[in-house]
């Protein structure tokens, strides 16, 4: 049992990019996603012994992540009297999009993770700066537009294209590795 738990923890650690991405997409609030990722790490480790090995581990972790997110939303909304405008049907559609994740995709993600840095370093300097401001400083599109002297729409287009470029690069790199 301990060995199985060890291997599940390792799997969680290895796939953390996926789980963090899932939370970021759910939360659309970088700070909250980071807090919840920390909480998720703790809850997963606490509950690892109750995991049923016949189930999909990724789906199990995402289920915990989603419940943490829903609880955080309720707490925040109620305490701050804050309006929530996220379309629940869209959130459900987004969550369902992760259900079709195959083992092969998981493998691909692990391979790609190893090449991320190399692909980022191939980007032009100004795009690396854009990514840094977005992901390190958690700047909104409006802030990025002001920082980089571009329109919000141009920033959004640039970020979309950078992601597409990185995905292509990661696919190429993973495909060419032995």
């Amino acid at each position: 049992m301990a060995l199985m738990n060890d291997s599940l923890i390792q799997r969680f650690v290895r796939d953390r990019g996926h789980f963090l991405g899932f939370l970021r997409v759910l939360c659309r609030d970088d700070e909250l996603a980071e807090e919840l990722f920390q909480e998720l790490s703790v809850v997963v480790i606490e509950k690892i012994s109750s995991f049923d090995p016949s189930r999909d581990f990724g789906a199990w972790v995402r289920g915990i992540a989603r419940n943490l997110y829903l609880k955080a939303c309720r707490d925040r909304r109620i305490k701050a009297g804050k309006e929530q405008t996220q379309d629940p049907a869209l959130v459900d559609a987004v969550v369902q999009a992760y259900d079709g994740r195959s083992n092969r995709e998981e493998e691909e993600l692990r391979e790609r993770t190893a090449h991320l840095r190399a692909c980022v370093e191939k980007l032009p300097i100004h795009l690396r700066g854009l990514l840094r401001d977005r992901y390190e400083s958690n700047c909104s599109s409006q802030k990025l537009a002001a920082l980089h002297d571009r329109s919000v729409s141009a920033v959004e287009t640039a970020l979309s294209r950078v992601r597409a470029t990185l995905l292509e690069c990661l696919q190429r790199q993973a495909g060419s590795s032995p």
Binding site: G21, S41, V42, K82, Q84, A93, R117, R134
Partner: protein, 446 residues
């Protein structure tokens, strides 16, 4: 949809700038496994970039000793950020497995030594349930059955076609409607600084409530995503959508407060109100003005007729395609080039008769849709520009419609299980204009 468009939708989604039109388009495309795969790729990349540039992904990384780990049991910690450089010593992706293992062992020890969790008192009982009803916990979901006790932070979720009735000790009953996916959470009265009464959140869907008189100064409260309602003792229906909520009060009085600006209105029996960002929060009579007394009295035995639109704006309606506006009390939708026009009710209806007048120009076709695109009636005009009378009757799963008194054939659209079965939509073709006037709903006896 092209990959570029989809990627832009992803960016709009994560940056919170998705419009309602893009939201609908994204939802549609996410039903397709190809786009689901692209979404996962983008999301994984987003997580990898966040890990690489910013997030020190877990408390485990800083787990130097057990006290650190204890702090991490329910962490609300600031997150260290790293500079991206090729020589970074503590890359998140070099996350030490050893630390994770230490954390695991330490937490396992703490887990077994922890004091037994206090059993939360039951707040309500699931009196009745049918169909697909789930009991939601803070980190688990299970099938719910009658007789189950619900305590704080439990939620109930009903799928379309299912329903559940909660009963509180004082006789208050809340029924989660089966015409939409409905999610209701219970909270401990003491979780808030407000007076300690019953407290719930309705994330989505509709509930019908019969609330026993509540103790003085301790009203029952229900939050929706954009609204808070306060109830002393009454019968009402509350429908929640992401940016709007509708309250129909049959008896008694309910205070409805819009969270965005704090504006509140008292809604008496026989009145309804819609809280949304772009409409006045006012109580309006459910029955025609002439039948409403100065002191409104509920008339449950008589059919209640009310306008389907408020005649001023599109509050209570969701535009999913085209451009819609209200002019002189007429709702006008226009399908732009390459796109159609569609507007759907926020509220889901059951046991009603809907009547309205419709007119098209620039096309000969329109549709009256029920339950999203599950069912539709095709409406055709030999002479565009003339008004036609439409009557739609919904009784449970029985639908019936006429156009100028002529029977219409119901058509099966497509699967649209995410949408409540009693939703009404109006639709017209590309470059067509559809006008709607004199639309009203009469509630039929069950």
């Amino acid at each position: 949809m092209t990959i570029e468009e989809f990627d832009r939708h992803f960016e709009h989604y994560v940056s919170g700038s998705l419009t309602s039109e893009s939201s609908a388009a994204l939802r549609e495309s996410l039903a397709d496994p190809r786009w689901q795969r692209r979404w996962r790729e983008l999301s994984d990349l987003d997580g990898m970039l966040a890990g690489e540039f910013g997030v020190k992904a877990s408390a485990a990384e800083n787990a130097d000793d057990v006290s650190d780990i204890k702090d991490a049991r329910r962490p609300r910690r600031s997150v260290r950020r790293g500079e991206f450089s090729g020589n970074r010593q503590h890359s998140t992706f070099g996350w030490p497995l050893a630390a994770a293992a230490i954390l695991m062992l330490a937490l396992a020890g703490l887990y077994y030594l922890r004091p037994a969790a206090p059993v939360a008192p039951a707040l309500a009982t699931l009196e009745e349930s049918s169909g697909n009803v789930a009991l939601l916990g803070s980190d688990s979901t299970q099938s719910a059955h009658a007789g189950l006790s619900l305590s704080e932070q439990n939620g109930l979720q009903t799928a379309v076609g299912s329903h559940a009735t909660l009963r509180f000790a004082d006789g208050t009953r809340i029924t989660l409607s089966g015409d939409a996916q409905t999610r209701l959470w219970l909270h401990a009265p003491g979780e808030s600084t407000a007076p300690h009464g019953k407290w719930m959140t309705l994330d989505t869907g509709s509930i019908d409530a019969s609330v026993a008189p509540q103790p003085a100064g301790m009203p029952m409260r229900i939050h929706t995503p954009n609204t808070a309602v306060k109830i002393v003792g009454t019968q009402f229906r509350l429908s929640a959508a992401p940016a709007s909520a509708r309250l129909d009060v049959r008896e008694g009085r309910v205070e409805m407060q819009r969270l965005s600006d704090g504006k509140a209105v008292d809604v008496n029996g026989g009145y309804f109100a819609i809280a949304s960002a772009d409409a006045d929060l006012v109580a309006q009579p459910i029955a025609p003005v002439s039948t409403v007394a100065v002191v409104p009295q509920p008339t449950p035995a008589k059919p209640i007729t009310r306008p389907l639109f408020n005649g001023k704006d599109l509050a209570g309606w969701t535009v999913s395609r085209g451009q819609w506006k209200v002019e002189n009390g007429i709702i006008i939708g226009h399908g732009r080039r390459g796109d159609r026009a569609r507007i759907a009710s926020v509220e889901s209806f059951d046991n009603i008769e809907m009547t309205c007048k419709l007119r098209v120009t620039g096309t000969k076709l329109a549709e009256l849709q029920v339950g999203g695109y599950r069912y539709f009636y095709q409406l055709s005009w030999e002479t565009p520009g003339t008004w036609k009378d439409v009557k739609l009757t919904l009784r449970g799963k029985e639908y019936h419609a006429t156009l100028d008194g002529k029977e219409l054939r119901i058509e099966r659209g497509g699967d649209d299980d995410e949408v409540p079965v009693g939703l009404i939509s109006f639709y017209t073709t590309e470059n067509g204009t559809l006008e709607i006037k004199d639309a009203q709903i009469t509630e039929l006896k069950k």
